[in-house]
Symmetry: C2
Subunit: 344 residues, 2 copies
Amino acid sequence: MGLVMAAIAAAEPAVERVTLWCHTEREAEEIGQRRTSPRLRVFELDARVHVTPDPKRALLGRDADDRPADMIVNAIPSQFIREVWNRLLDACPNDDRVLTQRVVSVSKGLENGSLLTPLGVIAEVTAQQPGWSRDGHRRPLAVLSGPTIASELARGLPATMVSASVDDGLAIAAQHTFTTNYLRVYTNDDVAGVEVAGACKNVIAIAAGIIDGLDAGMNAKSALLARGLAEITRLGVELGADRETFFGLAGVGDLATTCFSSEGRNRTFGEALGKGESKDEILERTDSVVEGVETCRSVAEIAQREGVDMPIVSAVYAILYEGLDPREAITRLMSREQKRERIG
Amino acid sequence: MGLVMAAIAAAEPAVERVTLWCHTEREAEEIGQRRTSPRLRVFELDARVHVTPDPKRALLGRDADDRPADMIVNAIPSQFIREVWNRLLDACPNDDRVLTQRVVSVSKGLENGSLLTPLGVIAEVTAQQPGWSRDGHRRPLAVLSGPTIASELARGLPATMVSASVDDGLAIAAQHTFTTNYLRVYTNDDVAGVEVAGACKNVIAIAAGIIDGLDAGMNAKSALLARGLAEITRLGVELGADRETFFGLAGVGDLATTCFSSEGRNRTFGEALGKGESKDEILERTDSVVEGVETCRSVAEIAQREGVDMPIVSAVYAILYEGLDPREAITRLMSREQKRERIG
């Protein structure tokens, strides 16, 4: 997703320069030379995107006279955001130029332990670092989300996103930066809703994949989508999010693509579970991060803390961490004694 | 769907007898002998289901001493409900036994001209017929809906439905009659919401199919699902429906299965449109009713009457009835000038 976002930003005439930071020298070298990723078909990274493993160069520019990055796009798996940002910050200590840098995140998940969203982690890490925060100044943060499978964006297929921030100016700046003739970006001020929906949908998608693996059909998967939407909405509202967000692009839109696209990692992971493979077997042969596996722990913990009933998340948790048989879990979900439909 | 509902009812021990009425002698003969339909794989109609083209026998039983049908299941394409019910009623004039018969409908659409839902048509027709109504007595009507592709139900795959009626007793009776170990039925009292959602989803599914036909991808289709849900919710709320219904099984659940299942007739019809075939060509080679084609006219008319903005329905209408090119329609939908996300 980082690659694709870099390419989209580079295509915007108002954007002067795009630098893609990679977490290892090897990765930077590979991407810098190949200008693509094996996970993306028919994609070529714009020649104007500079690829570097050097955090200082990525954030502050080539030298002391260069203009620092104005907008940082965070595209890091949720459990690694803290570690990576600490590395970035350590590389640019006490540099006033970083104080005004705005952050736009496309990560979707929750950090285990802290139970923080990606923006929550970034806010915490930057606030703790001298030079990256100043009394009375809150770093402008935004989240971009929506039904956006990276490989489809890479092919220029039409898509939509939501740009959410408490800072209207940043929401609009991100909207302008990433709007193209095939990608429409809408603003929204419900950061909590967009981030909670983005995190939870990956857990529901694992359940959707299990239904696929069990060959249980579209009726069951669509019922799961409706029930899943209801339970993540309940959690979001409890956490102060706006209900409406869950019925928009970042809510039901993203949930649908995650549950129905054959390419989704979380759905694919669930499908393998449904076919009888074990979690460890699947993760061992998967070279990318399956966000829902770790995020499920945090969502289950928050649901318990808030007293929110999330039967699908609980079922996925029991399958992943308590050895519950997927078939048994689906049977239990389908046979819950409940007479009236309950949504909110 | 009528076949499948008959089979499900016949499997309920409390149900004494099930009669399947067919609208022609030929159809009754074929189904009576083959006990299946070419549209359903691996399905065999329970031997206990009696198949007849005789309306009087279906409604009142074998002879004057026989018990009349207690519950009538309406599974008729929307534009034919009035005509068929008039035939049924004409066959049993002034018979007091029909006064207490309860009707459960699984039809999804709106009658052109009257703009009535299936239950609305049945209420009107039966009220006009002497012997089928009595002052002060309202016939109990219910609608069954949800993500229920008939061919999956026929294979016994897990599914859920909503049984909605203003008459609690009938909602519960339908729930008991059609609940099986693979089909869960939930009650709901929002008849308007369930019927409006069921009608509109077929129109949105045509648009989803067009996206498939144009190979525009899952991101676009999921965005369409989110936007489609928002616009049918706006219409439903305007018509007195409960918002919650649209976020439940009969709303987003049914919409998802209709937009994503490869088997859906409306989606398949839209896909052919997207690939460049004309409406008439497709309908000519299709042996089943594509509800969304006719329902689109009624939905567009109601939206205009109520002053509800329904851009997707308008686009489908323009494609079907004003010769708009599907590719042009999708481009217009994707590029609507709109800065903030708006749901309700």
